[in-house]
């Protein structure tokens, strides 16, 4: 086992001479297990800054497991195990001296269902990350304004920052959750089917927000919605399972993947023939 890791480390250092360190995330030969159950096999992908990457594939193919590996949320599930490397700005986030909480600050996450903290108002929700991570920040007001603006929510809520998060519509709540993740200034944002609980109008608003975010940071989005992947992502990775562990079929620029895929299974999937 140590040998495999060794070789991949070496190939990494070899590769560095050709391509510079990727700012953002990069995975190398990632595997995942739940107990004895092998759920994800040998995924090597790059998520550079200023791009949106869509992860597509039928349910049960390990997309959510994969995305949770990227900010060390995988380890909260009892019996979870992994292999391989996840590099954040070139550093392995799974090496023993790394503080998982610090990684999660740099690699933020937005969940499927909008979930603002129920006991807090809008402003407190945005600032909750700063409080939870004990960050020292001087000007709270400007953070609230900046994050809500980036999440496309400022105009709608600037007059009622003390209302509870629950008083917003579903789409607004999800944008509040995005603003909450932005407050700790991550340079990667992971989104696990962020629009699946929303109506089409709110979905479009979130997609606009995602595109604006990608002007600065890397966004990784899991989605079941082909059209959404096509609309919002620059690159796409297609995952599949044959009953065993999920694996990567192909990954490429979204345009290429949707118009001229290299694999017939990808073609079938993006045309909606299964899944």
């Amino acid at each position: 086992m140590s040998q495999t890791v060794q070789t991949s480390v070496m190939s990494m250092s070899d590769g560095q001479s050709e391509s510079p360190v990727v700012l953002g995330l990069e995975t190398r030969n990632i595997h995942a297990w739940f107990g004895k159950h092998h759920v994800l096999k040998d995924i090597s992908l790059k998520f550079p800054e200023k791009t949106v990457t869509g992860l597509i594939g039928p349910s049960g193919c390990g997309k959510s497991t994969f995305i949770r590996l990227l900010n060390r949320m995988h380890e909260f599930i009892p019996g979870a195990a992994m292999a391989g490397q996840v590099l954040h700005d070139g550093h392995d986030i799974y090496s023993p001296e790394v503080d998982a909480a610090a990684i999660r600050l740099k690699v933020g996450m937005v969940f499927q269902k909008p979930n603002p903290f129920p006991a807090m108002n809008i402003r407190e929700n945005v600032l909750s990350g700063i409080k939870l991570a004990h960050l020292k920040v001087a000007d709270h007001d400007s953070i609230v304004e900046r994050c809500l603006t980036r999440a496309g929510l400022w105009k709608e809520v600037k007059d009622r920052l003390t209302a509870t998060g629950g008083s917003l519509s579903g789409g607004q709540q999800q944008r509040l959750c995005i603003a909450r993740s932005l407050a700790v200034e991550p340079n990667v944002l992971l989104m696990d089917e962020p629009c699946s609980a929303l109506d089409p109008g709110s979905t479009l608003r979130i997609e606009e927000t995602i595109k604006e975010l990608a002007e600065k940071i890397a966004v990784v989005i899991v989605t079941h919605n082909m059209q959404q992947a096509a609309r919002v992502s620059d690159y796409c990775a297609f995952f599949l399972t044959d009953g065993g562990p999920g694996y990567l079929v192909e990954a490429d620029a979204t345009k290429k993947l949707f118009t001229n895929p290299g694999d017939t299974r990808t073609a079938d999937y993006v045309q909606g023939k299964f899944g």
């Binding site: 086992m1 050709e18 391509s19 595997h31 992908l45 791009t51 195990a81 292999a83 909480a101």
Partner: protein
Amino acid sequence: MSTIIAPAEKTEVVPEPITPWKPSQKTKSVSIIVFLASLFLSAAIVLLTGLAGIDGFGLALFCVVIVVTTVRNLRSNQKSRKDAFVGVFVASAAMLAFFPWMSIFASVIVKGVRGLQPNFLVENMQFTTPDDELNMGGAAHAVIGSMLMVSIAAAITLPLGILSGVYLTEIRGRLTFLVRFVVQSMSGVPSIVAGLFVYTTFVDYTSKFSGMAGALALAVLMLPTVARTAEEVLKLVPDDLRSASYALGARQWRTSLMVVLPTVRSGLMTAAILGVARVIGETAPLLLTSLSNNSFIFNPLGGPIGSLPTYIFGLLQIGTENSINRAWTGSLVLLILVLVLFTTARYVGGKDKR
């Protein structure tokens, strides 16, 4: 940049799963050694200073652990330091919370097992004084009395509890909310009040203390538990089953009696068993209804009757060494009964799901 596939070697060999987030073997050993050292240090403090006893040891250990945590977190940030200290406080609170009942389990077993001789389970106290040696006399009469009373109480409450469960899940009439609320409030009636109630009614009417009176008082205390568990169990029956029965043209009473209730038969048994476990150790109501007796009584209407709780309570008030020992053994038997009832309830209740 045309691809996002990372430059890594494709390999068909599946690597070994690892869990890098778990503390390594080395960290673990260090933690264990530090903890053992803290234990020794606390023991030394207890020996060398005025602190004494389990409480002194606990206090010393707490202080040592706080110091150790401080030292180990000197280099970490404020956030993790706070987390570590809260962890120490939570663990200490848990230790304190769990200590009494762990101590009770331990002392009941250790002190009770001495008196747990064959005679304890077959003889009564008719010709033995509590102060006699432990190889004389026993609590068989008390066990029989307790069994008699809880059986009658269960026979009364099980049908009533099931009816109330059926009402709440099948009939769902106008009084659903009220019935549920009353059952909930009734579970808080103090046991001595139940005893007083039966005393002012049944005992007064028959002008006699009896096992039946005790059983009635226990039934009052048992009913809420049985009713609530029965409701929980019936709630688990899928609605499809009812619909299927109705679709076959069955009436509601047939659906309830022949489709719904049989599917949860063992769940309803669990309800009864949990009810019995709830009341088998009740003392206060029996002091006002069944009193106690030193000989075998099998007639529930035949005057005062012995029971395990009143047996233990009586011995405690005598307070001599042997009587206290008998009380411990009685408690052991009582605790074993509760444990057996719980295990049975769990086992029987698990059957429905399969």
